[in-house]
């Protein structure tokens, strides 16, 4: 396995409370990695350290390294906006920008000046809406407010918006937990469809979703990584007692 993202000796605190304890981890390239574990185990905190979001919380402090393509994203001379462009995030609750559907997708393209002319922007917007499986539903009303979409459509719009800035890694923080079952299925299918092109890291607290999506699994408990490995191995034959108990639904 070739790691795309590596975590080395990562410790993180909220104030005096330690959220992540000495985490060392490798996330494989162009596969779906699922981080699972009970609530409060630090899985969302870990995800937030990957796109420099952890530091947005007041009182948050962090030591250690997160390495993407051989570069530590916590090095002093790193531009966090560039990190966030390359590592996209699909949030728990879909949050559209206060703009039209078209502008939501074009926003990232505009701020990073990724195209030359209007025609190219239009084509790009269509391309990413197609990629997110939303074009058929919104192609004829691109200039309506994004808030007019259903919550499931909004999450696919967020996906299109995130893909438009051409990230290499997609993070998903329980991206289906606010959605109805059918919309969740839509998102899961899309993530599976595009997994050959992107390294994907998903946090989930539902074991069944983890089993549906994962190529690689990370199991966390109380701020520590208990076990990490290929999905079929971890699910069928966990090495750690804690993992076995979790998979059996004991906690």
């Amino acid at each position: 396995m070739t790691p795309h993202l590596q975590v080395r000796n990562l410790n993180a605190w909220y104030g005096s409370q330690q959220a992540l304890k000495n985490i060392t981890l490798e996330i494989p390239q162009k596969q779906i990695t699922v981080i699972m574990g009970p609530s409060g185990c630090g899985k969302t905190s870990l995800l937030k350290t990957f796109n420099r979001f952890f530091e947005l919380t007041e009182g948050a402090r962090l030591e250690g390294e997160v390495i993407v393509n051989g570069e530590n994203i916590y090095a002093k001379d790193v531009d966090e906006t560039e990190v966030r462009k390359r590592i996209g995030l699909l949030a728990q609750r879909p949050t559209v920008l206060p703009m039209s559907i078209y502008e939501n997708v074009a926003y990232g393209l505009y701020i990073h000046r990724m195209r030359q002319d209007t025609r190219a922007y239009k084509d790009a917007v269509q391309h990413y809406l197609e990629l997110a499986g939303l074009w058929e539903e919104v192609g004829k009303r691109l200039h309506d407010p994004a808030t007019a979409l259903s919550i499931g459509q909004q999450q696919r719009l967020c996906l299109a918006r995130g893909l438009a800035v051409e990230p290499e890694i997609i993070l998903g923080d329980e991206p289906t937990s606010a959605l109805d079952p059918i919309s969740s299925q839509h998102i899961e299918h899309k993530l599976l469809e595009i997994k050959q092109q992107y390294t994907t890291v998903i946090v989930t607290h539902t074991l069944r979703q983890a089993k549906r999506l994962a190529d690689y699994v990370v199991f966390m408990y109380l701020g520590e990584v208990v076990e990490a490995g290929p999905a079929n191995e971890v699910f069928s034959n966990p090495k750690q007692e804690r993992t076995r108990q979790y998979l059996e639904g004991l906690f």
């Binding site: 966030r84 949030a91 949050t95 206060p98 990232g108 701020i111």
Partner: protein, 286 residues
């Protein structure tokens, strides 16, 4: 399942009656005011009223118009609103981003609320003393400054509410795409807040243009169109006040025409602000 009379239902009926009563009261007052102003002012409202300055020997004129007061009011309320905006937008942002719900922040909010509640004649008297101390005479500038002071708390508090209603996730959504903080502020946050800011500005403008007491001492009154910041300036509310105070029925009649003009201006502003806020708020997240 049949309806049985119960004491709970009495409360419901009383509450309903009270609501209809208040609704009726609001509508009745509005209609009565509009009817009074229209029925008394319309006969005296001529094109001359809005296109000429007072003429005919009397201080406020049996002839001519009140263009001096219309322009004076627009200059003062416009200038005051502009100055208030320059101070209240940063103040509201500071209040939200730096002070938040802290004790000091709540003290600032309380102070603004108290300022909001201060009668405008007190503002006028305060302005008068201030101008005496500075050696200024009643002038357009004095009126603008005092209206800015009057409007500042209204505008700041209205904007504060707008910023507080800002969805928290929005900032992070924009940051996640690699936006800089400035891009988040100008392209996303401002866009979300724009309808609220428009409403706040026009609310303050409406309050400023309708206020008589604060400009009584600070801006004075004059028959001519304002030409300099340091010269006295007329205003519509004071035109109404002075015209009604004269012993001549013709001039009193003209007071209602002035009041009608003022009412129309305020009405247009408040309807316009609703229209504008809805228009720029089309894309806002509710």
């Amino acid at each position: 399942m049949k309806f049985h009379w119960h004491r709970r239902h009495l409360g419901e009926i009383v509450a309903k009656i009270l609501m209809y009563f208040s609704l009726g009261l609001v509508f009745a007052s509005l209609t009565l005011i509009l009817w009074t102003v229209l029925s008394k002012g319309l006969p005296a409202l001529t094109w001359e009223m809005v296109s000429q300055t007072p003429k005919g020997g009397f201080y406020l004129g049996k002839e001519g118009g009140i263009l001096n007061a219309i322009l004076g009011s627009f200059y003062m309320a416009g200038g005051g609103t502009l100055i208030a905006l320059v101070f209240s937008l940063p103040l509201a942002l500071y209040l939200e981003t730096c002070l938040g719900e802290s004790r000091w922040g709540n003290w600032v909010r309380l102070s603004l609320d108290v300022l909001w509640g201060i009668p405008s004649i007190v503002y006028g008297a305060f302005g008068f003393i201030l101008m005496l101390a500075l050696g200024l005479r009643a002038s357009l500038l004095g009126g603008i400054i005092i209206l800015a002071l009057l409007e500042l708390p209204i505008m700041t508090r209205a904007m504060d509410e707008v910023i507080r209603r800002m969805p928290r996730d929005l900032e992070q959504a924009a940051l996640a795409l690699g936006s800089t903080k400035l891009e988040v502020a100008t392209r996303v946050v401002l866009r979300q807040m724009l309808p609220g800011i428009v409403t706040a500005i026009l609310l303050a403008f409406g309050r400023g243009i309708g206020d008589a007491a604060s400009v009584l001492f600070t801006a004075g009154y004059t028959d001519s169109i304002p030409t300099s910041l340091m010269r006295p300036a007329a205003s519509l509310p004071l035109a109404v006040f002075f015209q009604l105070g004269t012993p001549f029925p013709e001039v009193q009649q003209r007071a209602y025409a002035s009041a009608l003009i003022l009412t129309i201006i305020v009405l247009v502003i408040s309807l316009g602000s609703r229209w504008l806020a809805a228009r720029v708020g089309k894309f806002s997240i509710k």
